[in-house]
């Protein structure tokens, strides 16, 4: 299977690469690293990257920025980071990929546990992650060619603890290789419109 992984060099992306690379042909996509580059906030950049890649069987997106701040202090610009990158960036990638996905293919996006469990400063994350989990539910009803679409909602990764651990008090971290299995399940399974929570 030819699988496109956007965000392939990130913490989640590299765990997904490790889980899939022995049995599949992977196209690793990043903003500046990888086989192909794209900026998910720019639809033209998405289109040009997909054209370069050509036909493929599955898309995995483990990419998308969000700003963290309190509701009272979050600026319009900070809200727009999450809206343009993590939300519309993934939605636009999913939509543009439909043209290149083979029949029976799949799309797997990434939300995050904050949709379910708010943390301080995480109001945009809860909002945007929740939006993505609802998006796949509706988008699944419109997929052409038997294509499936799901989202993975991971808690904090063990590998991310040094950088983000203090923001997730009492959250039990999971290893990247466990999170990666949710992407494998979404990509190789039969579910569509689902949120795979990993915690």
């Amino acid at each position: 299977m030819k699988i496109v992984i956007v965000g392939a060099t990130g913490t989640i992306g590299s765990a997904v690469v490790s889980a899939l690379e022995s049995k599949h042909e992977l196209v690793k996509v990043g903003k500046t690293k990888g086989d192909v580059n794209l900026d998910i906030t720019d639809v033209d950049s998405i289109r040009s990257a997909l054209q370069q890649i050509g036909s493929f069987d599955a898309l995995i997106v483990a990419s998308g920025d969000l700003a963290f701040n309190s509701l009272s202090e979050m600026s319009a610009q900070e809200w727009n980071v999450g809206i343009n990158s993590k939300l519309m960036g993934q939605i636009n990638l999913a939509r543009e990929a439909l043209e290149y996905l083979t029949p029976g293919g799949s799309i797997t996006l990434t939300s995050g546990i904050l949709s379910k469990d708010p943390i301080a400063g995480g109001v945009a994350a809860t909002t945007i992650n929740g939006a993505l989990e609802h998006f796949v539910k509706a988008a699944a009803t419109e997929m052409p060619k038997g294509i499936r679409i799901n989202v993975v909602s991971p808690t904090v990764l063990e590998e991310s603890l040094p950088m983000y651990g203090d923001f997730f008090p009492g959250f039990i971290p999971v290893p990247g290789k466990t999170v990666a299995q949710a992407y494998v399940r979404s990509t190789l399974g039969v579910a569509s419109g689902e949120t795979f929570v990993v915690e």
Copy 2:
């Protein structure tokens, strides 16, 4: 209680007005009608309207536009209608209202049943309504002065059937006066961070 109702002349808003007007002082807000006018897509307009109203005890928002189209045909401009109006319009109203709300006050926003049950052409509605339901869950954890925040998620109203009925095949409509009670319950009850589904 002094209650500000944004969208007071709409189908839901007018039912909420009927449910509350005998016992409370209502400030009816609309884009062009009502006691005070504001454009929820414009933060300056929100600020100016709230300044005009002054201190109040509860905010109810039954306003916000969304575009309906298929995922493959929905333009960036159409996505932005829902993001700027129904999503960020309500979020900005909630945030700006905190300065004017009395201690123990409340905020009630509006999502809609499509968060739970997708319909054809409703991918933006499912996404944005889901975002709002997650927003209140996180925002509730940050509210100052004991303020509560909830969202009402109504199915199609009996009063809206002539205009929207065909888009909701098999959905059982509810009368506006039943939907209005969810706003009363959110405003006068004790819940916070909740989605009141009315169907």
